[in-house]
């Protein structure tokens, strides 16, 4: 009971015409006579004919499909990106294949390969946290398949990029904490090989410098998930008495610390102010609401898709230097940092 969907040949046979006539009639080719065209179109309609996209792609050597590789669709920032991509894609006649890497390097590699195997016309990639070997992307680059990096990029590979100004975002939010009277700010960050984490940490460092506050290396901890907050709670709590603020590299981690601190008798923001990064919906739901910076996920997705389409529709001979689009963030001041 394998489904056999009607093909152009089926129609041709049924109507006693040739396949090419059917093909032409269906796309209103002027050569085809009115009656033939009408007859064919009516029949196609009746049998619910739909062109086989696989055959079309094979023939045309263009799939009108682009591949997305993204860490985890659960996260609001990533699904906003996807929505942005999809909306542009649909409006320009592209389809989208979404793959999750689950922040896993191996899965990412498999996904990239599978998308290439499916002959996607281009790739939109947000690199996994655990990836520090980029050869699978180098080989995409070498194979000439256009690729745009989103948010998490690889500096070595010279493609179009759409990124957040993480440095200034972190600087902004750290300055905001300082303006609110905080001087001993704990930073929960990522491993340094992740560029966004590195930049956010640098922004934090810069803000301290701007305000003549000495950097205490003890106040920078690698901790970027709620799970890690749990596993490192002893360290965090041992520091809690000596700090007046926490700046976490993302909102989930910020919320997790906030709960940890609250459950251990600290008042937020009175004893310790807390700030995150990303403006996830939970930021407005937690108590107190979380100060954070908004990343324009949706717009970044749109921009990335537009850049990709530009590459795809560029005349073959034309060359264009890789473009880098930097999105600024906006501070969302909320109660978790209001100390006066």
């Amino acid at each position: 009971m394998k489904p056999h969907l009607t093909s152009i040949n089926d129609i041709a046979r049924a109507l006693g015409v040739s396949a090419s006539t059917v093909s032409r009639a269906l796309k209103d080719h002027p050569d085809i006579s009115e009656p033939t065209r009408i007859k064919i179109k009516a029949f196609a309609q009746k049998v619910n004919y739909r062109p086989n996209a696989l055959a079309l792609s094979l023939k045309k050597q263009v799939s009108n499909t682009i591949g997305i590789v993204i860490p985890e669709i659960v996260h609001h920032f990533f699904s906003s990106i996807i929505s942005g991509i999809e909306d542009i894609a649909y409006s320009k006649g592209y389809r989208v294949m979404i793959c999750q890497s689950n922040e896993d390097y191996e899965r990412e590699k498999v996904n990239v390969q599978a998308l290439l195997d499916h002959r996607v016309d281009g790739l939109l990639v947000c690199i996994s946290k655990t990836t520090d070997d980029f050869s699978h992307f180098t080989s995409v680059y070498n194979s000439q398949v256009p690729m745009v990096f989103l948010d998490r990029i690889c500096k070595k590979i010279e493609t179009d990029r759409v990124i957040t100004d993480d440095f200034n975002g972190a600087r902004l939010i750290t300055s905001h904490l300082i303006e609110n009277g905080c001087k001993r700010i704990l930073h929960l960050g990522t491993l340094p090989h992740l560029l966004i984490g590195h930049d956010r940490q640098q922004g934090y460092v810069q803000a301290l410098k701007d305000n003549n506050i000495d950097l205490d290396p003890e106040l920078i901890i690698k901790c970027d998930t709620p799970a890690e907050v749990e596993s490192k709670k002893d360290i965090i709590l041992s520091l809690a008495g000596k700090i007046d603020a926490v700046f976490a590299v993302n909102d989930f981690t910020a919320v997790a610390v906030m709960n940890l601190l609250k459950n251990n008798g600290f008042e937020i923001p009175k004893d310790i102010a807390v700030a995150g990064f990303g403006d996830d919906p939970i930021a407005t739901i937690v108590d107190p609401p979380l100060t954070t910076v908004e990343q324009q996920g949706y717009q970044m997705g749109q921009e990335a898709m537009n850049l990709l389409i530009e590459r795809l529709t560029m005349p073959d001979n034309e060359m264009k230097a890789p473009e880098i689009k930097v999105f600024q963030v906006e501070l969302r001041k909320r109660k978790s940092t209001q100390r006066s």
Copy 2:
């Protein structure tokens, strides 16, 4: 600069053998001599040859790809479902094409069609909220492409189904509210054409009946998103004085009502207990933590994919009645309903 990925013919030409020899060598066909095989494989490796999945699907009339149509990947329940599906799919050699309907009927129709055009082997569908014309699914059914409905089903179309026991879930949670001393329970539900909403409402009604509480039709309101809580806040607040509990059809709505009530001077759960449905991660983050029931999204996704694979790998002649898998929910008692 259209990327030309190496084909079997390219290899054949380069090595002075025929395409079929290359094809056979690459899949270790016993007919091919050791030296030829080694030579071909080495070359293929060198040029990074990868089979064209489109050509394979066209040839084999099987794409090893399944299509997913789901309302919105942002929601934890849906992305859990997708993870469940993906994990089974990957382990059995299937790829997955994910489409979001954004709860929009038109988009859903387009998505289903696009997936069929891409000749997916089967479809996993969670119907959009706004869909009340099911002809696009009927035509999938008629075209013999296997389809499994997930969570939100269409009763008229006899396919495999994986659903939550919404009736008993709602009955369970309503009973829990009653046990905690609530008698005037406001139910925020969906439009009746959405089966899950209908069943949850019936479960609510049944629990009242079980406990000899009269049903007050005024206490059932159509309201199933945070946005709708906002737009109907006057109605909700006008009822707030006369009720002692709210049971919302999902957690987002529950959280939104909770915040609305809190901001208007009601204490949760002292004045009004609040319960949701689904056990979204926000349920443990809000203050007070939200009582709800857990839906096994991940397991439901796995089950659905398994059912689909079973259909796909069934001998052509074999027939099997549609299977219906019902998942029970588990009560997650939290502070938002603890009144004593």
